[in-house]
Amino acid sequence: MKDFRNIALFVLVVGAVPLFTDSGVMLNFVMTSLYACLLSQAWNVLGGFGGQFSFGHALFFGTGAYVQAIAQMQWGLSPWVALPLAMAFAAGVGAFVGAASFRYGLKGSYFALVTLAFAEVFRILATSVPFTGAGVGLMLPLKESATNMQFGSRAGFIWLMLGLVTLALCITAWLRHSRFGAYLQAVRDNEDAARAIGVNPFSVKLIATILSGGLMGAGGAFYVQVFQYIDPGIAFGAHTSVEALVGAIVGGMGTLWGPILGAVSLHILADVTRNLFGQLPGINMVIYGVVLIVIVMFLPRGIAGLGTITPLQWLRGSKSDGDKP
């Protein structure tokens, strides 16, 4: 159907870029943009489609990253084996956090808080425990080769990340056209009504958390392969959590292409800022924060929602449904 045809188009266009350009700047931009896309897509599964806002998504990112590193450095596995393993571990952490949170009916702000708390706990544990390298972190030994998932040129990384982004896109498209996706969005829009017509909110939210966690973990594993380094701050810090959620919200939660639009837009904005103001610490995040506030204030459906809201509604500001009689 249309969605999958568009995804195929996307893959062809983006995948062809390394074949048509040698520019290091361009290739780097495509790679880092795709990386940002994956993070936002992962968040979107649970946040946009499931309506459960996680403020600590770095929890899954960091788990994936550390497993990717440890699996190679301490268990001697090939990075191509470590990748699915990292995703599985991240998904497992998702299962644990999801089961605990939803079993006790946590929603809204409370769920956001709990994810934040878990991310912090993991960060502190990672700082204190030897096998994660404690505060110093882990450095992946350099050994360039395709079989070692350390590509000589950015092209290899681009195609790898494209594969992961495509996986995320396919999962999202599946959410738009499946019973499970319908159930997930029903729980998001009105949990009690969903229960009354046969939906089990616990299992639906749990599966969404597992999928979201697994995808986010892939992002973490990818990070380790590209930068060959991970430490508790990068792994479980607020920066990654924020990047994931702002991209999805700015682009349009609960849509197929929203996270891609948002992640790329933010990325471009960050690049432009860096060119204008230089490498100032924190300037990126200030922009992310401001953009988040502005989008929530004026464009709550994100960029993807631009087509769905008339200019008059936009000027008046969209009212919440709670005001309707």
Binding site: F53, F55, A100, S101, R103, Y104, L106, G108, S109, Y110, A112, L113, V114, L116, A117, F118, E120, V121, I124, L125, T127, S128, A238, V242, I249, L280, P281, G282, I283, N284, M285, V286, Y288, G289, V290, L292, I293, V296, M297, P300, G317, S318, K319, S320, G322, D323
Partner: protein
């Protein structure tokens, strides 16, 4: 190892820190109890206040305790402006939007601080920074004792405002029945903003008490935010008594935890409690409704 001479100072230290935690949590409780929003920007706001105290000392030589009459009104104004100008405008009445907007504010504040002050940890030195007072087998730093007393006083003032003044009456009316209060002629938006202002004003006071014995860096808010939330959830959202007692309890837990497990792992103890309370008893122990 765990004899009285080691435990007692730890507990005492915990109580003094806990009083300041309680003050921070009180502001959050006020904001939650009235506006029903979980203010993710609370920690970042405290960080801003701490930098304010730092700057007043470093650049103008103002003693942190003497900075109270400057910091408290300044933070009040900031709070009022943030609520009226940003949060109210952006939320469109939806809870999830408020969540995101306060998150956005906290990100902006934290990273502006990073921009201006870099990530260095800064402290101030006053004449009495190193003075200690002897209580039994414990030597408690004088600033901590002052902050203990100060925090209790400010908490009392805050409670008095809510209980005895016209503003307090308006606040209580709005928190119970917004539409009804509006019909009675109460300017709800103004009351909301006053409340938020009060919440941040108490952070201004807390910063004055904290700075002599503590430090500041752009990330310091994160740690406080979770501690404050732990207290508020533990004590029961919207309960002042709960926030006070919860603050003292958490201060002690952190201190003992640090003693037994080491500094960083001690913090984990708090978060574990937080997660446990959220999961098992989200209405807290003195719960108003959760």
């Amino acid at each position: 190892m765990l004899d009285f001479n080691i435990l007692f100072p730890s507990v005492l230290n915990g109580i003094t820190t806990g009083a300041v935690y309680a003050l921070i949590a009180l502001g959050l409780t006020l904001i939650y109890g009235v506006l029903h929003i979980i203010n993710f920007a609370h920690g970042a706001s405290l960080m801003v206040a701490l930098y304010g105290v730092y700057m007043l000392k470093q650049h103008f030589g103002v003693d942190p305790y003497l900075a109270l009459p400057i910091m408290v009104p300044a933070m009040f104004v900031l709070g009022y402006a943030l609520q009226r100008g940003v949060i109210n405008r952006a939320s469109h009445g939806k809870d999830e939007n408020i969540l995101l907007v306060t998150l956005g504010i906290s990100i902006v504040l934290e990273n502006l601080a990073l921009l201006f002050f870099k990530s260095d940890t800064r402290t101030i030195e006053t004449a009495y920074t190193l003075t200690t007072v002897e209580i039994g087998p414990a030597f408690i730093a004088l600033p901590k004792l002052v902050s203990f007393a100060g925090a209790l006083v400010v908490s009392a003032v805050l409670l008095l405002i809510v209980q005895k003044t016209d503003l307090g009456r308006a606040i209580r009316a709005v928190s119970k029945e917004k539409q009804g209060a509006r019909l009675m002629g109460i300017d709800v938006d103004h009351v909301y903003a006053m409340c938020f202002g009060l919440g941040l004003a108490s952070l201004g006071a807390a910063a004055c008490f904290l700075m002599p014995a503590y430090y500041v860096n752009p990330q310091v808010g994160n740690g406080f935010v979770l501690v404050a939330f732990t207290i508020v959830v533990l004590g029961g959202m919207g309960s002042f008594a709960g926030a006070l007692l919860g603050g003292l309890l958490i201060g002690v837990v952190e201190s003992l935890g640090g003693l037994l497990l080491g500094e960083s792992l001690g913090q984990v103890g708090i978060f574990v409690i937080f997660i446990a309370v959220l999961l098992l008893r989200p209405q807290g122990f003195f719960g108003a409704k959760a």
